[in-house]
């Protein structure tokens, strides 16, 4: 929907779609950049301790020598204490290394976002296919459940659940809570797509040929649903990252000293004019990740789901 200068190339079934994706990537520079950004942050998620150790500091390691006790604990040096030792500067007061914290924060933030997305896609595809393919009562019950879930004030509910369960594992709880409210969106897309596929000739042919419902679902319906789901999922990741940031920002997410981007932003807002670097580092990371996933999702949608199965 964004910057399509020419109509997207027609989609062919099977490997053709991926060839189209590759062609699209070659054509758009912005896509190459966003792919690189996504790859970088995924790498951070996978190997945070390794990458952070390049900087030589641990995420929870204090460095009192990097802050000035006579200036209210502001970092010593330009740009919030950027130096050969602290690549992105340090936190005021504690002197913790921002590079180490932002890399570890990427791991926490993105791990939660990815895991929540995985849950949402799994639950959404299952519910959507079941509702669309089996129809009747299954469809009614599942559609009602979707409507009900969508009527929940989700952010409020997430905040409340996070703050009530005080002793639970924060990361796991956050994944489950965020995942709980996301599935109806995917389910609707999949349901619509399944409905339109269910009576195509090739599905009828498979049925006449003696395939059972499970075989039809797995071999004939699922591949047809995959394109829109992949596009929708990529566009969903930014929302998940933002939700994680919001929860951590409000202080109900991961607990300090474990860093996450939302939490780092919350702590640094008060310093926005005395130590802008402290505020900018996590904000820019959040911005770049969300932007990269949005651009990627846009392109994938143009290629894999040209008519847009979203309502």
């Amino acid at each position: 929907m964004t910057t399509t200068t020419t109509p997207p190339p027609p989609v062919h079934a099977g490997g053709g779609a991926w060839r189209a994706v590759r062609a699209e990537i070659r054509r758009r520079t912005s896509l190459k950049v966003s792919l690189a950004v996504v790859a970088l942050f995924v790498l951070m998620t996978a190997a945070a301790p390794l990458i952070a150790s390049l900087g030589g500091w641990g995420p929870e390691e204090f460095d009192k020598s990097a802050v000035d006790p006579y200036l209210g604990g502001l970092p010593i040096g330009p740009l919030g204490g950027v130096s050969a030792e602290h690549w992105l500067g340090v936190e005021p007061i504690t002197g913790r290394d921002l590079f180490a914290r932002v890399v570890h924060g990427a791991q926490v933030s993105l791990l939660i976002a990815f895991a929540a997305t995985a849950i949402v896609v799994l639950a959404g595809v299952t519910a959507g296919i079941a509702a669309g393919y089996f129809g009747g009562r299954t469809d009614t019950a599942l559609s009602r459940l979707m409507d009900l879930t969508m009527s929940f004030p989700s952010l409020i509910f997430m905040i409340a659940m996070m703050s009530v369960a005080r002793d639970a594992d924060r990361t796991l709880l956050m994944i489950l809570v965020i995942g709980l409210f996301g599935w109806p969106g995917v389910a609707r897309v999949v349901r619509g797509q399944t409905l339109s596929l269910k009576h195509r000739e090739y599905v009828d042919a498979a049925r006449v040929g003696g395939s059972g419902p499970w075989r039809i679902l797995a071999r004939d319906i699922l591949p047809g649903v995959a394109g829109p789901v992949i596009a929708y999922t990529t566009l969903m990741v930014p929302g998940m990252i933002a939700t994680e940031a919001a929860l951590s920002y409000l202080g109900v997410g991961v607990r300090p000293p474990t860093p996450s981007w939302g939490q780092m932003i919350a702590e640094s807002v008060a310093y926005y004019d005395t130590d802008p670097m402290y505020f900018l580092v996590p904000s820019v990371c959040l911005f770049l990740t969300v932007l990269a996933f949005t651009l990627l999702g846009d392109a994938l949608r143009d290629v894999l789901d040209p008519r847009g199965s979203r309502t």
Binding site: S151, F152, A245, V269, L286
Partner: protein, 328 residues
């Protein structure tokens, strides 16, 4: 139409009841004992029991829920003996913190959140639709590309960042606007608007960007329809063709999203309210969370759910107005 409305209203009640039940179960089952909190440190077992009985916490869960729901419709007397307290018609209970009625608290805070939501919505619709329609009409030109690149970037900006940028630029640096303080609309409309302009902008940037993207897509699609060609061929002025034929048909999907966004905004503005220190429903909720004030949490959740459901209903009814093809 009336039949449809009746069925939908019943559905709304059902959804609200289900949400109340889920909220109730989660917050009343999970381990936190308001009676112990009310009793204080030096608390004997008998006294704890007495408080629990007085708060109605000794009854089985379904009983508590039934009492709560009847209380909303008829009002109820809470507690027994000398602690008895009558709670009038829309009874949502009393705050554990300051014994104020939850309904009164909500009514007190609602104007702030409603002002925030309404102003932001007007702003983002105006900005988003203008940008989206402009881009669609100038598809594949430089204007289109610039607008859409701007929209993607703006949609990715974290709200904290936008807010801080606005605060810094418009308050600290230039002093163009006051630091937001809530002034009721009825007492001074001008001051109401100038105080809220900053939070409005902060919220609107994100949504305007999303609406610009959506409306561009919808507009391109509807402008390619055959009836647009017909309208143009009959010699209608371009403006009429764009607004009456193109925009009107393209509005339906936008309206759906708008209903969901607006309904969710009442409670979804927790972050904006806390960033700008506005005393709205979101703040009330956040305060109640930190003190474990369950009646208030439940009240805000229900109110927020109510807004979402009602906004969705309103949108479905509006379809018939916007799109003449829709009939109920």
């Amino acid at each position: 139409m009336i039949l449809y409305l009746g069925r939908r209203l019943l559905g709304v009640l059902g959804v609200l009841l289900a949400i109340a039940a889920v909220t109730f179960t989660i917050f009343y089952v999970l381990p936190s004992d308001p009676a112990a909190a009310a009793c204080g440190k030096a608390c004997s077992d008998e006294r704890l029991e007495a408080i629990r009985a007085n708060m109605g916490l000794d009854a089985p869960l379904w009983r508590q829920f039934a009492d709560f729901v009847t209380g909303i419709f008829t009002g109820r007397t809470m507690g027994t003996g000398q602690y008895a307290l009558h709670c009038d018609f829309p009874c949502l209970g009393y705050s554990y913190e300051n014994s104020e009625g939850v309904w009164d608290l909500l009514v007190d805070r609602l104007p702030v959140s409603a002002s925030l939501a309404a102003g932001a919505a007007v702003l983002w619709l105006a900005l988003g639709l203008t940008a989206g329609v402009t881009a669609a009409l100038r598809k594949d030109t430089l204007t289109d590309r610039a607008l859409m690149v701007g929209a993607v970037a703006a949609a990715s900006l974290p709200v904290y960042f936008t807010s801080v940028l606005l605060i810094y630029g418009l308050i600290r640096l230039t002093g163009l606007l006051p630091y937001p303080q809530y002034v009721p609309l009825t007492s001074d409309p001008l001051s109401w608007a100038s105080n809220l302009l900053l939070p409005w902008l902060a919220l609107a940037v994100l949504y305007a960007a999303m609406y610009a993207r959506q409306s561009r897509g919808a507009m391109i699609e509807s402008m390619a329809e055959p009836y647009i060609r017909t309208a143009r061929a009959k010699g209608l002025p371009r403006r009429t063709v764009v607004v009456k034929h193109g925009l009107r048909a393209g509005m339906t999907p936008i309206l759906t999203i708008f209903g969901m966004d607006l309904g969710g905004l009442l409670a979804g503005a927790v972050i904006t309210e806390s960033l700008f220190g506005l005393p709205g429903v979101g703040r009330l909720f956040y305060g109640a969370l930190t003190t474990g004030d369950q009646p208030v949490i439940l009240g805000v959740t229900l109110l927020a759910a109510g807004f979402i459901v009602v906004a969705n209903l309103a949108v479905d009814l509006l379809y018939a107005v916007v799109d003449p093809r829709v009939r109920y």
